[in-house]
Subunit: 247 residues, 2 copies
């Protein structure tokens, strides 16, 4: 039955162009095309159209994202568990969060060319932050169609090996806030953060955060969430204080 | 090969009593007994014995816990994804965290009788908090031996159906802090928390936290971490203020 569906989707389906693009990305022809279409259906789309025009009764990719996020986390956990037989829990946890954190997934989605597929099914501008969600939703869709084992193959071969530099991540520390705190603690300096501006941009909250060392403002950072703005400000502070080399 | 190992473990192994207890718990005889022994090896044990006496070169169940935590999270995510085809991401996320949070896992482990198995391989007193970790490590061990599908069967049949009341969890809200904040916000009252005492008990940090409504101390709570102490204090405050019925 799946074979017949795949044959139909590849050769006869009205959207066979989309099917073929998916095939190039996935390495197989999807049998359940609707699930994959849903994976690229961002929630921002739901508001635009009348209920009856919305595919799948107003559904979007968030449920698939929920499932894919879990599946991806487990696949990466198992991959690391096997790759580092002597790595302790702390190391494995850190490595995993470096791989599956929002920013990394956004970059992976970008490299996979998901923006192109997203724009097929969304009338909004594709923000970088939508790419990571699409990666998770895509993993969810593959899981729904092919189960755990095949999804593992896809994630390891198409995502981890192509787009993740594991060896680099081992030594790479991108928690600039903790680096700054550590450095200042050693030198007896006090660090604090303050929100200096909070405003709306593209209908979303945006934060401008300042980092102060011993009461003196060293740097500012701006982003759509406070944590990330603090990281940006901390990175700039580290460069400014000559602790980190900018690149 | 696995069959031979199982036969040997069940009938001839010097620790066949442990094997049989595991069989009652798991529904199958483990072939790789060492993995299951490791699952019950708590880290607090490592300090007691000389390096050469430690099983598996000083390993403990933390790596299996890391793996099992991820696997369990995915199995529960999939279970909820299928059970609630109309549940949105927020609902699914909340339900999952109610099931896999520390306290629930401790209770599940208790009901499964893991304390007995833990005490076989640990010379320390079995704290309730060790049970949840053991549940995760056990799921990790099952996954290592039997793969994803069989682990799903075990988790759904032996854990979720027996020990988790999903319907109850749908309406159950145990975030007392957010309940208290919501109630006070409605009434224009201000809530804040303060640590009134921090001390050592059983070599661990213990916190005594007070909750104040409009500057007046309403209740206190005590636990090994601040968040949990705040929850306990909030629950007491809710009862004290007549918002919640104690039971």
């Amino acid at each position: 039955m799946k074979t017949v569906r795949r044959f139909y989707n590849y050769f006869l389906h009205p959207e066979r162009e989309f099917v073929r693009r998916l095939r190039r990305l996935l390495g197989f022809t999807p049998a359940y095309l609707n699930v994959f279409k849903l994976a690229f259906q961002h929630k921002s789309n739901n508001g635009d159209t009348a209920k009856e025009d919305k595919p799948y009764g107003g559904q979007n990719n968030e449920r698939l994202e929920f499932l894919g996020d879990a599946v991806l986390g487990t696949i990466v956990a198992e991959y690391l568990y096997k790759k580092y037989p002597l790595g302790d829990e702390g190391f494995l946890t850190k490595m995993r969060s470096k791989i599956v954190k929002r920013n990394s997934l956004n970059t992976i989605g970008d490299n996979m060319g998901l923006d192109e597929l997203l724009s097929t099914y969304n009338n909004v501008r594709i923000a970088k932050s939508m790419l990571g969600n699409a990666v998770e939703a895509l993993v969810g869709a593959i899981y729904v169609e092919r189960g755990y084992k095949k999804t593992t193959q896809f994630v390891v071969r198409q995502m981890l090996r192509n787009y993740v530099d594991i060896e680099h991540l081992e030594t790479f520390d991108d928690n600039y806030k903790s680096q700054l705190l550590e450095h200042c603690q050693k030198n007896g300096s006090k660090v604090d953060y303050s929100v200096v501006k909070r405003f709306k941009q593209d209908k979303r909250d945006r934060f401008k955060v300042a980092v102060n060392v011993d009461g003196r403002r060293v740097a500012v950072g701006e982003d759509f969430n406070k944590k990330s703005a603090e990281q940006i400000a901390s990175k700039r502070a580290l460069v400014d204080m000559g602790i980190k080399v900018s690149r």
